[in-house]
């Protein structure tokens, strides 16, 4: 899997794509693969305040429940309502199936996140343990 280089990644397997002071967030292909068939995505409401590193929602597969962690702090401006009815889209296209958009509180939050190359290395180690 080639991870898109137009965004950054967390060690909890979220991606964040920044455009000015707004950002789009989703989970990575590695995350969807580890979870298996995704049947449920729960995201916060528009207007919710996210704190970097804290949980902001849940993804469930048939077998597993997994928390979503905010890659950065900010305010939710839009959620992908499509995923409430078609959560399996995350399996078929994780990097295209965004979960929410937010305005960033502190763009410096992103400094510690991984590049595509670093994330790829990170998951290779995690998968190969």
């Amino acid at each position: 899997m080639a991870y898109p280089t137009d965004r950054q990644y967390t060690k909890e397997h979220e991606w964040i794509q920044v455009n000015g002071n707004t950002a789009t967030v989703g989970i990575t292909d590695y995350a969807q693969q580890s979870l298996g068939d995704i049947v449920f995505v729960e995201t916060p409401k528009v207007g919710a305040e996210l704190t970097a590193g804290k949980t902001f929602g849940t993804v469930e597969s048939v077998k597993a429940v997994s928390d979503l962690f905010a890659p950065a702090s900010g305010t939710v401006t839009e959620v992908n309502g499509d995923l409430a009815t078609s959560p399996e889209k995350v399996n078929s296209d994780a990097h295209g199936s965004w979960m929410l958009k937010m305005t960033l509180k502190n763009p410096g939050d992103l400094d510690g996140l991984l590049s595509a190359a670093d994330y790829e290395k990170f998951v290779a180690e995690e998968a190969g343990h």
């Binding site: 693969q33 580890s34 298996g36 068939d37 049947v39 449920f40 849940t58 469930e60 597969s61 048939v62 077998k63 429940v65 399996n91």
Partner: protein
């Protein structure tokens, strides 16, 4: 005979095959088992589940244990340690039953197969193998009957689904149409085309399973080459029937739709037969068996909690261990198993609740991440396979 329990995780003879196929492996009851196979080969829990409901899927269930009882008093021994009535079994017939503690709670649930005049095979759960064997041995000392642990002798492969009979018939000379559900037979398993004259002789074939679907479980020698050969051969001849390998994930959702109990969830050493609703497999007209006296008392005293089927009426998935609440939000019970049901396309659960909340149609709640989500008590099993015309 005694065995020292190895601290390391155990592997079935098919472990390398599962890994080669790219299965996601998990630890289950001390075993390294496939939970699901990759989407790239048409698998994943939902596809595997659907294959068994509509076609055929195969499972490595070699982690299950096997105990053989044989000798002049084998029947008397089986009658003493199990709650169903094994005297009703013809040779070649099997029954669902359970081993009970004196308190009427569960050591384990088992399938009792009568293999010969004085020969019985108990198929038991992976997580309770050692406990079960010790318990059976200790409780049959007074009977003229040998007790053997055959758990490591067999690779057990389950072939499940409406097309299981078509698949397996390609591989055996046994007439499977003559084998009814919960009966066993023996036959050749062809390992290659007939002309090559390569086969396993006298293989035990049982029309049993844990999927609430038609199907078979075959018991082949547990050496790695034979096990691998049989597994691959089944996949090869089953290709035209759409067979796929299935893992423990689908095994769990399939058995949940069929309300088949899982040890440590619906049944355990703190849950009795009446609570679990397994009355019809417990023959109180048998004069004696371990647990009987306590069960008689428990029945007279009245059953306080009961296992119910729940269907979520609001968004959310009930999971094992979640709290069940009454409509006012008071905690009244807990979920023993909960999951999305891939065939029924609903979120379902089994739960213990006080009997007064057990009636079909009762509105309850399941606490999911701190919030009560609506659920309703529904008839069980959630899924019943269609009767053959």
């Amino acid at each position: 005979m005694s065995s020292v329990e190895a601290p390391t995780i155990r592997k079935t003879a098919l472990n390398a095959v599962h890994r080669q196929m790219g299965a996601k492996m998990v630890e289950f009851s001390g075993w390294d088992m496939p939970v699901e196979y990759p989407a790239a080969i048409g698998c994943g829990i939902i596809n595997e589940h659907m294959a068994v409901r509509t076609g055929v899927g195969i499972f490595d269930v070699s982690h299950m244990g096997d105990i053989r009882l044989a000798g002049p008093q084998a029947l008397a021994a089986v009658q003493h340690i199990s709650m169903n009535d094994a005297s009703k079994l013809a040779i070649g017939q099997a029954q669902y039953s359970a081993l009970l503690y004196p308190a009427g709670t569960f050591v384990d649930d088992v399938i009792v197969h009568r293999l010969g005049e004085d020969e019985y095979l108990l198929v038991i759960n992976a997580g309770t193998r050692e406990k079960d064997f010790n318990w059976v041995r200790d409780n049959t000392r007074d009977f003229d009957c040998a007790v053997e642990n055959l758990s490591d002798d067999y690779t057990q492969i389950a072939i499940q689904g409406p097309k299981a009979v078509n698949l397996l018939q390609k591989l055996t000379d046994a007439d499977l149409s003559a084998v009814k559900f919960y009966w066993v037979t023996r036959g050749l398993i062809l390992l290659a085309k007939k002309s090559m004259r390569r086969f396993l002789q006298n293989t035990l074939i049982a029309r049993t399973g844990y999927t609430a679907e038609d199907g078979f479980e075959i018991y082949v020698p547990s050496d790695e080459p034979t096990s691998t050969w049989v597994w691959n051969r089944i996949l090869e001849v089953g290709k035209e029937l759409g067979v796929i390998p299935c893992g423990l994930g689908a095994r769990n959702t399939l058995r949940l739709e069929g309300k088949l109990p899982l040890y440590g969830h619906e049944i355990s050493d703190t849950i009795n037969v009446w609570e679990a609703g397994l009355d019809r497999f417990c023959k109180m007209d048998k004069p004696e068996f371990v647990g009987r006296a306590a069960l008689e008392k428990a029945k007279a005293a009245g059953v306080k909690r009961t296992l119910v089927g729940l269907e979520m009426t609001e968004r959310g998935i009930a999971r094992d261990g979640y709290k069940v609440l009454d409509p006012g939000g008071r905690e009244i019970g807990y979920v023993t198993s909960g999951s999305p049901a891939p065939f029924l396309k609903k979120n379902i659960a089994l739960a213990y609740v006080p009997v007064e909340f057990g009636a079909v149609g009762t509105a309850l709640k399941v606490e999911i991440r701190g919030q009560g989500a609506g659920a309703v008590v529904v008839p069980t099993p959630f899924y019943k396979r269609p009767k053959k015309a």
